[in-house]
Amino acid sequence: MDALLSYAVFFVSIAGIYAILSLALNVQWGLTGLFNIGIVAFVAVGAYTSVLLTVEPSATFDGGLGLPLPVGFVGAMVTSAVLAFFVGLITLNLRADYLAIATIGIAEIVRLFLKNEEWLTNGVRGVGGVPRPFAELGQVWMPVAQMLLVLVLLAVVFFLIERARRAPWGRVLRAIRENELTVLASGKTVKAFRLQAFVLGSAIMGLAGALWAHFVGFVSPEAFEPLQTTFLVWVMLIAGGSGNTKGAVLGAFIIWAIWSGSQFATDLLPPEMVTQAGALRMGLIGLLLVLVLLFRNEGLLSESDQRRGDLAREAREERRAG
């Protein structure tokens, strides 16, 4: 029973971090139509920033300032936001596919940087001994407290994004996604709105990266691979319902359940197949992506359902007011 409970705590923590990532991508892709397939870059930058700010000073590399955890989390968001600002400044005027390839390039450069700049990041050896939040609570309660931290942050991010989506700001974003020229014609600075959405989403990705790093306690350049960090998030958002805030969270939990379930399945394979298990699961991700697009391209909770809900609520509020 205990094992089951502690697995449930672990499951909810990781799924919660993925839900934060999925919400972040929802701001960029779901609302604004910005094609970011370099999520891993912003996650890795966030994770490393927080780790280097909070870890104890080390003899082998310069990072490690031993600052308190909240400083690390804020630092992670700021660094990811700054990176996103410069990437966005250059590429957001361009069409979706150019942004897509540019984000792949950023992810590659971030990977090379983390690997080669050993003086800062300790290179391929990675950084261990990352401070864990609530470590003083001991082996039993620490994971529970960490899970609650993830859930609280998830709730905050959810509330803020849902609020922003319904606000005029979110309406402009969706209008840009649907028809850029109309928005330009009504006197909005399309590029500024895009940049805001891109930077906001990336900052949240940086936060998720920091959470992940302090949850796992170790970072290395290889720990951030595009498959689990970028494409899994895409499948989550698209399956859950791109543009639908609840859908983004629902998709994260469902797809994480399938993904971790597939690990149990591949664990049952004969030992000589074990090295292939990762490949099999990568194929599964690709297949899920294609199947959702072919058969349910609005996702489980579609944006139009959400819109209907919004309209009904607005009507209720008007009736109450008038």
């Binding site: 596919d97 897509a100 540019a102 090379l112 080669n116 494409f231 698209i238 990568m282 690709g286 294609v290």
Partner: protein, 291 residues
């Protein structure tokens, strides 16, 4: 001086590989109107098909190249029939996401069938031709000659095809204006098949060449995707002729960059060039059409 020329040779070899990838990417972009992110993984697939022919059927590599490339086309046509064709009426970006899915499926299949380890076409070291030059010498492996010669032949054949055959002219027409092409009675579905055929054939050969130049591993094509895209964008995406110039420029720039920057950042060079092009000449250096 010899060192410089040596890098130029490496650059031309890499440029040949990138050109073959970029032409296909540019063609599919021009005619199917979406960025085909599985292009790199089709390069990988072609390379591994050739590996099977060489290692198991004991065919010479030169004979394996066309057979492996044709087999890769078949896979692409299946992907088109099952996936891309059904999504062609939606927005292009949906096709882009689908092609990312196809890329993951292909890479997974390659790893499951051929294993995750690094492999080579022929074990042992190829003795290079040594050409003395000034104070040093330039070394060229026989495989390098095959790669550069092969790319030259294929590019020339493509030129003849696009300029002088009915299908080639129809392809250019469709790339310029799909509606007008349809009205003139061009069978657009047939052109789509030809586009896949030519684009994927060149990609597969590029993948095999990449395997001959270095080694085969399941992400060989995915790693090439970034420079291949950079080449296509540099040449003005949608323009196969620009892709040739773009491929050669990126190949040379990547190799020559090692003179001035840390070689471990070599892959970043193509990205830097791409970003510069996107800022200053978003339509491509070679005056691509507006995007």
């Amino acid at each position: 001086m010899a060192e410089l020329l040596q890098l130029v040779v490496f650059g031309l070899v890499l440029g040949s590989i990138l050109t073959l990838g970029a032409i296909g990417l540019s063609l599919t972009y021009g005619i199917l109107k979406f960025a085909h992110f599985a292009h790199g993984d089709f390069m990988t697939l072609g390379a591994y098909f050739a590996l099977s022919l060489v290692a198991m059927a004991h065919l010479p590599i030169l004979l394996s190249i066309p057979i492996a490339a044709l087999a890769t086309i078949l896979v692409a046509l299946v992907a088109d029939r099952l996936i891309y064709r059904r999504l062609r009426r939606t927005r292009p970006v949906i096709l882009l996401i689908a092609s990312v899915g196809v890329a993951l499926i292909l890479r997974s299949a390659v790893q499951i069938i051929w294993g995750p380890n690094v492999q080579v076409y022929s074990p042992g070291i190829q003795l290079p031709y040594v050409i003395p030059f000034g104070d040093g010498a330039i070394r060229i492996k026989p495989d390098h000659l095959i790669i550069m010669g092969g790319a030259l032949i294929l590019v020339s054949a493509l030129h003849v095809f696009l300029q002088y055959t009915r299908v080639g002219k129809a392809m250019r027409a469709m790339s310029d204006n799909p509606d007008l092409a349809r009205v003139t009675g061009i069978d657009t579905e047939k052109i789509v098949l030809w586009t896949w055929g030519i684009g994927i054939f060149l990609a597969a050969v590029g993948g095999i060449f990449a395997g001959m130049d270095a080694q085969l591993h399941p992400v060989v094509g995915w790693r090439l995707l970034l420079p291949v895209f950079a080449a296509a964008i540099l040449g003005g995406i949608g323009r196969p002729y620009g892709a040739i110039a773009g491929g050669m420029t990126i190949g040379l720039a990547q190799e020559l960059s090692t003179l001035v920057i840390d070689p471990s950042y070599k892959p970043a060079v193509s990205f830097a060039i791409m970003v510069l092009v996107l800022i200053f000449r978003p339509r491509g250096i070679f005056a691509g059409r507006s995007t």
